[in-house]
C-alpha cells in the first residue's frame, strides 16, 4: 500500500516538474514588451580586442545651440577598436521633452571607412525651433511643463552591429 502511495506521489511530482519547466521556458521565451520591461541599456561593447565605437558631443558646441532652425551640431566618432570599420551610420533624433505633444526631428549621416584609432567629426544642421500651434504660439497642452528640456539622442551603428549611444539634454 505504501509503495503505491509513493509511486503516485512520485508520478505527481514528475508531472509538476515537467509542467513547471514548460512554464519557465514559456516565461523566458515570451515577448518582454508585453509585460512592461525596464529598458535595457544597449549591449555593452566588446572590451579589449574587436570593434569598438566611441561617440560624443563636443560640449562647447552644445552650449551654443539655440531654439531655432539652422543649428550646427557636431558629433565626434572614433574607432576605439583594433579593426577597421568599413562605415558608420549616424542617427540623431532631436525631440522635445514633452511626451504629450512629442516633436521628433531625425537626421542621418554616414561616415566612411575608419581605421583603428581614427576619429572624425560630423556636422549636422538641425532644427531646434519649438512646435507651434495653429495660433502661432508654442504648442503646449494644459498641465505640461512650459519649458521642457530638449533631448538630442545620437546613435552610431556599423553594419556589423557595433553601436554606441549618447544623449544630450539641453536646459531650457
Amino acid at each position: 500500500m505504501k509503495g503505491v502511495a509513493l509511486w503516485a506521489l512520485g508520478a505527481i511530482a514528475a508531472f509538476l516538474a515537467t509542467a513547471g519547466a514548460f512554464l519557465l521556458l514559456a516565461n523566458l521565451l515570451g515577448n518582454p514588451a508585453a509585460s512592461d520591461p525596464i529598458p535595457q541599456a544597449d549591449p555593452p561593447q566588446a572590451q579589449g580586442s574587436g570593434p569598438t565605437l566611441l561617440l560624443d558631443f563636443p560640449e562647447d558646441r552644445l552650449e551654443e545651440l539655440e531654439k531655432r532652425p539652422g543649428q550646427r551640431l557636431a558629433l565626434d566618432v572614433e574607432n576605439g577598436g583594433d579593426e577597421e570599420l568599413p562605415s558608420v551610420d549616424l542617427t540623431l533624433d532631436a525631440t522635445s521633452g514633452n511626451t504629450a505633444r512629442p516633436r521628433k526631428r531625425s537626421y542621418r549621416e554616414t561616415v566612411g571607412r575608419l581605421a583603428p584609432g581614427e576619429s572624425t567629426t560630423v556636422e549636422v544642421e538641425i532644427d531646434l525651433s519649438p512646435q507651434m500651434s495653429a495660433e502661432g504660439r508654442e504648442a503646449n497642452p494644459a498641465g505640461a511643463d512650459p519649458q521642457p528640456r530638449e533631448v538630442l539622442e545620437a546613435r552610431a551603428t556599423t553594419p556589423e552591429g557595433v553601436s554606441a549611444v549618447k544623449t544630450a539634454v539641453l536646459a531650457p
Partner: protein
C-alpha cells in the same frame, strides 16, 4: 519521516511552477526596476532612493494604489499608470486631457481632476478656480489613452484621497443671489460603479485644500471665507462624515494663506501657511512658509518647533497610520530642498533624502505615501546649468527629467545626530 520528505520534494518541485506563474517573487530578472541597493547609480537624493519612472516628460502627482501594486501619475497633463516597479507606463487619458491630479478608486478606476488655472489657484485674494472631476474605469488603459469618462462633476475646487480607495471632492455651490457668500459641498466617489454620495450640509466658504484623516472618518480642509470686502481669510475646518457637519478648527490672520491641504494627525491638525503671496516662489525656491499645528481641543495654531526655527516648509502629507508627517522643505534659506519625516510622538525630525543637486517638486500634490507607510514618493530632477551628456538612451534616464522616486522612511537617523 516519509511524509516530510514527500512534502519537501513537492515544495521543491512546486516552487518553480509558481514562480513561472508569477505567484512567487517579482517578474523576471531585467523586467523590473532594480532596488536601490543594487542600482548602478545614485540618483542624487541619497542612499536607498529608487527611481520609479524614467525618460522625458514632466511627471507629478504620484499616487500608489491602495493595494500598493500600482502607481499613477500625471505626465505632461495626462494620467499614466504602471505596476510599481515596472518601467513602462500606460496612458489612462488622452494626451490633451489637462489633468492636475488623480486619485485611485476602490475598483482601480481613477478620479481625475483637471488642472486649475494658474491665475486663480487659490491664494488669499482670489477664490480657487473650479476644475472638473472625471472618473475613468479601471479597464481603460488603451494604448492611445483615449478614455471613456464614466461621469464628471463640475466646479470642483479640491480633492482628497480616501485611505482605502476613493476620493472626496469639494464642489463650489453657486450662491442663489449675488450678495450671498460662497459655500461648498462634499461629494464622495468610491468606485466607478457606485453612485456618488453627496453630503448635503454645506461648508461656508471655498475649499482650497482637502485631505481625509487616516481613519477615513473626517475631511480636513483649508477653507477661504469671504470677508465681505473682496478679501478672504483662511480657516481650517473639519467635516465629520458620520454627523454630516463641518466645524471650524482655527481661523488664520489676514493675509495668511494655507498651502495645500491640512493633515489630520495623532498630534492634531497640521498645515503649512505663510504670508500670501510670494509670486517668485517656484519648485526651486519655495515660498517662506511655516508648519503649524492645532492641537486637539485647541483653536489656536502654534508653530511646530521640532522642525527647527528656520525650517521652510513647502508640502506635508500624513502617514497612513497618522503617527508621522512627511515634510518637503528646507532647513534654512541656504540649504537644499529635502524630504523629512516628523515623528509626531517624539516631535523629532528625520532627514529621508540627502539632496546633492536635485530640484525636488514642492507642490503639495507631488508627495505621496505608500499604503504600508514604508516609503514616500516624490518627484525630482537633476538641476542643469548647461547641457548634460549621458551614455544611455533618453528613455532609460531618470535624473535628466522630472521622475518619481521612492524614498525609504523607516529607520531614519534623527536630525542632528547624523550631522546632516
Amino acid at each position: 519521516m516519509l511524509p516530510a520528505a514527500v512534502f519537501a520534494s513537492l515544495a521543491l518541485v512546486l516552487t518553480p511552477v509558481f514562480a513561472g506563474c508569477g505567484l512567487i517573487g517579482g517578474a523576471r530578472e531585467g523586467e523590473t526596476i532594480p532596488p536601490a541597493s543594487v542600482a548602478a547609480t545614485d540618483p542624487g537624493l541619497g542612499p536607498g532612493v529608487r527611481p520609479l519612472s524614467f525618460g522625458p516628460g514632466d511627471k507629478g502627482s504620484p499616487r500608489v494604489s491602495p493595494s500598493g501594486e500600482k502607481v499613477a501619475f500625471v505626465l505632461d497633463g495626462y494620467v499614466a499608470e504602471k505596476p510599481l516597479y515596472a518601467q513602462t507606463s500606460l496612458p489612462r487619458t488622452a494626451s490633451d486631457f489637462g489633468a492636475g491630479d488623480a486619485e485611485w478608486l476602490t475598483d482601480e478606476g481613477m478620479a481625475i481632476l483637471t488642472r486649475q488655472d494658474e491665475a486663480g489657484a487659490g491664494d488669499a485674494s482670489t477664490p480657487p478656480a473650479p476644475s472638473s472631476l472625471f472618473d475613468v474605469r479601471p479597464d481603460n488603459s488603451s494604448s492611445d489613452g483615449s478614455s471613456d469618462v464614466a461621469r464628471s462633476i463640475e466646479k470642483v475646487t479640491a480633492v482628497g484621497a480616501v485611505p482605502d480607495g476613493g476620493a472626496v471632492a469639494a464642489v463650489a455651490v453657486a450662491p442663489e443671489s449675488p450678495g450671498e457668500p460662497t459655500s461648498s459641498r462634499l461629494v464622495l466617489l468610491r468606485s466607478t460603479e457606485q453612485p456618488a454620495s453627496v453630503y448635503l450640509r454645506s461648508i461656508k466658504g471655498s475649499v482650497t485644500g482637502l485631505s481625509i484623516s487616516p481613519d477615513g472618518r473626517r475631511a480636513v480642509m483649508a477653507v477661504r471665507r469671504d470677508a465681505g470686502d473682496g478679501e478672504g481669510r483662511f480657516e481650517v475646518q473639519t467635516y465629520e462624515f458620520s454627523e454630516g457637519r463641518a466645524s471650524r478648527v482655527a481661523r488664520l490672520p489676514e493675509e495668511t494663506e494655507i498651502l495645500g491641504a491640512p493633515q489630520w494627525t495623532r498630534g492634531g491638525v497640521h498645515f503649512v501657511a505663510g504670508e500670501a503671496t510670494d509670486s517668485a516662489a517656484d519648485d526651486r525656491n519655495p515660498a517662506d512658509y511655516d508648519l503649524y499645528r492645532v492641537p486637539a481641543g485647541s483653536g489656536t495654531p502654534e508653530q511646530v518647533r521640532g522642525i527647527g526655527e528656520d525650517f521652510m516648509a513647502a508640502s506635508i502629507k500624513v502617514s497612513p497610520g497618522g503617527q508621522r508627517l512627511a515634510v518637503v522643505g528646507r532647513r534654512n534659506l541656504g540649504s537644499p530642498t529635502n524630504l523629512y519625516v516628523l515623528d509626531l510622538a517624539s516631535d523629532t525630525l528625520e532627514a529621508a533624502t540627502a539632496n546633492e543637486n536635485m530640484e525636488v517638486k514642492t507642490n503639495p500634490l507631488d508627495l505621496a505615501w505608500s499604503p504600508d507607510g514604508n516609503h514616500v514618493i516624490l518627484v525630482a530632477r537633476g538641476a542643469l546649468s548647461g547641457p548634460e551628456v549621458y551614455d544611455a538612451p533618453a528613455r532609460t534616464l531618470s535624473s535628466a527629467f522630472y521622475n518619481l522616486y521612492e524614498v525609504p522612511v523607516t529607520d531614519l537617523p534623527v536630525e542632528g545626530e547624523s550631522g546632516s
